[in-house]
């Protein structure tokens, strides 16, 4: 109960922040919340199930392109958004059917290769996808019924709604029977199998849920900021959620949001001081894996906050 209150409290603060933040940070906050949904999705696979994927940009971009291409050709935005979700989950399922036959480093490389192939495909069929430059979405394409996603306030609340659903969804998942099985797979897959669980199915389900959230994030991101481009399918976008989750704390509900926000502003600040923002990402990766592999909230949980989900 206390933990539910904590999460609702965080969401309430975010809702209040809408009225307090100056315009620049206001846009950033909306961006962070949508990207946090991506991180939350990544966390389901990596943090809870122990699946270290290097190819999640594939699911993010699948959602973004499914939605973007549909609305760009005059599709109904609501349906396009739904298509983005389905695309994320379905692509994750297809990749999982193959990639989950491997584990550890092989799984990382296989997911990386699939994502890379997709990125290259976007570049190769540039006539259809807009290639590296991508395409922008018109105002009409970004209108979900009465909600105009080009409007900052609407955008903020849609992002908040999305991150709320994702966060409370994870909270429910973690406390469910399925959540317990996923954690068991992460901790010791062989033992879990000998308790009678089809661990392949469990992992596939986790990856699909993860892909669904990633697809939702990609889809909404495209609609909100009106742009769909090949860079979202590049390897950098597979690495980012890994960093966000590592930083906030893998296997914690609030970690992805915290990590996304911190990393976003870390890069934002560093790029105002130096042009070497990429080095900051690299240094963050190495520093985290060396000194704080459990991330901020994971470390807090180890130091006494044991109830933290």
């Amino acid at each position: 109960m206390r933990m539910l209150a904590l999460h609702l409290g965080v969401l309430a603060v975010l809702a209040a922040a809408q009225f307090l933040l100056p315009a620049y940070h206001h846009t950033n906050a909306a961006r962070i919340m949508v990207l946090a949904v991506y991180a939350i999705g990544y966390n389901i696979a990596f943090g809870y199930t122990g699946l270290l994927s290097l190819g999640h940009a594939l699911f993010f971009a699948a959602g973004m392109y499914a939605t973007g291409l549909l609305v760009d050709r005059g599709g109904e935005p609501w349906l396009a958004l739904l298509a983005g979700l389905v695309a994320g989950g379905a692509v994750a399922g297809a990749v999982g059917l193959l990639a989950l036959r491997t584990a550890g480093p092989a799984f990382m490389i296989v997911t990386l290769m699939f994502a890379q192939a997709f990125h290259l495909a976007i570049l190769y069929w540039g006539g259809f996808t807009g290639g590296d430059e991508g395409f922008t979405l018109s105002g009409a394409a970004r209108r979900l019924g009465p909600l105009d996603l080009a409007d900052p306030t609407t955008r903020y609340f849609v992002a908040l709604a999305l991150v709320s659903v994702a966060m409370l969804g994870t909270l429910a998942l973690v406390r469910s029977r399925l959540g317990r099985v996923l954690v068991a797979v992460r901790e010791n897959e062989e033992r879990t199998r000998m308790l009678g669980y089809d661990t392949f199915r469990a992992k596939l389900l986790a990856l699909m849920l993860s892909g669904l959230a990633s697809g939702a994030a990609g889809s909404t991101y495209g609609l909100m900021f009106g742009y769909v481009g090949g860079s979202f399918a590049a390897i950098q976008y597979s690495i980012l959620p890994l960093i966000w989750v590592l930083m906030g704390g893998a296997g914690t509900v609030l970690g992805p949001l915290l990590g996304t926000a911190l990393m976003f502003y870390l890069i934002d600040l560093s790029s105002s001081v130096t042009t070497a923002s990429q080095a900051v990402v690299g240094a963050a990766l190495i520093g985290l894996i060396l000194f704080a592999p459990r991330g901020i909230l994971g470390t807090l949980r180890e130091r006494g906050l044991r109830g933290l989900p």
Binding site: L52, L54, L98, A99, R101, T102, G104, P105, A106, M108, I109, V110, M113, F114, Q116, A117, L120, A121, L123, Y124, I239, L242, L246, T275, A276, Q278, A279, V281, G282, A283, A284, L285, I286, I289, L290, P293
Partner: protein, 292 residues
């Protein structure tokens, strides 16, 4: 040009690619075999070798051949030292745990790329070849330097093979590869072996880069393609098997030469990445490896 000579040209170009690829990939394979580390920053060591070769060509006076000779010795040493440092400072502290080291080497990739961009800049710059010579075939002319690249790569690989099979250092590396604990028990300093292996792997990539840079310009983003191709080679050849790596390098290098002559390179890359993924899924021991 007719098809026959055209194919011959494609094969000869492919052979150059295969030679350089064999060097790069054997470095990746060695590191994976002995240390069980998948080094995602391997392509950046290649890039550093090329960029360092450009600096050497600027600083060393005299004919290009002198600068080239200096680069061929100095650049791999610099890169090797850097790699040894990275191993001792980062990978060793992660106890070479496979997943953690992949994350760390991704971080290393970003840092090295950014460092190259900052110090060297975004331009692509050529390095003069040590000698100009043209081989005239009945159908087309070919650079004699390319022939030199093939020969030099073969010589380095032969040296590597002799080192691994005939010297104490090679024996120690192979012993560590087979069983880390026993090697420690026999008084082998595993820390030094690992640092040395990582350095050697990086040096091989750097040698390959110094050889190729007179043909292909130095650029801070040039590490991506060799990394991808090396991955393909190592995975298809069987992880950690040097013989499989060489065979696969020949196959991939030649077919890359032929395919990119006749087809779109992007399409070839799509097919290649999917191929790697599928080989890992269905034949993790590689196409040439025996089933364990």
């Amino acid at each position: 040009m007719e098809f026959g000579p055209f194919l011959l040209l494609a094969l000869m170009e492919g052979l150059v690619g295969a030679a350089v690829l064999a060097l790069t990939a054997s470095g990746l394979s060695l590191v994976f075999g002995v240390m069980r580390v998948v080094n995602v920053a391997h392509g950046e060591f290649f890039m550093l070798g090329a960029v360092a070769a450009w600096f050497v060509s600027q600083w060393v006076p005299g004919p290009p051949a002198v600068a080239f000779a200096v680069a061929l010795v100095v650049c791999p040493l610099i890169v090797a030292a850097l790699a040894a440092l990275a191993d001792l400072a980062i990978l060793k502290r992660l106890k070479h745990e496979p997943e953690a080291t992949i994350v760390a080497t991704i971080g290393l990739l970003y840092i090295l790329q950014q460092a190259a961009l900052t110090v060297y800049g975004p331009e692509a710059r050529p390095v003069p070849a040590p000698f100009e010579m043209r081989l005239q075939l009945p159908w087309f002319g070919w650079s004699g330097y390319k022939l030199f690249v093939i020969g030099a790569a073969a010589a380095v690989l032969l040296g590597l093979w002799l080192m691994l099979t005939r010297t104490r250092a090679g024996l120690v590396m192979r012993a560590t590869q087979i069983d880390r604990e026993t090697a420690t028990a026999f008084g082998i300093d595993v820390t030094r072996v690992h640092a040395g292996t990582f350095a050697l792997g990086a040096a091989l990539a750097a040698v390959a880069a110094v050889l190729i840079v007179p043909i292909q310009q130095a650029h801070y983003l040039m590490g991506g393609d060799p990394l991808l191709l090396s991955f393909i080679v190592v995975i298809i050849g069987g992880l950690g098997s040097l013989r499989g790596t060489l065979l696969a390098a020949l196959l991939i290098g030649l077919s890359d030469g032929v395919i990119s002559t006749f087809f779109q390179p992007t399409l070839a890359k799509i097919v290649a990445t999917l191929l790697v993924a599928l080989v890992l899924v269905f034949r993790p021991q590689g196409l040439f490896g025996a089933r364990a």
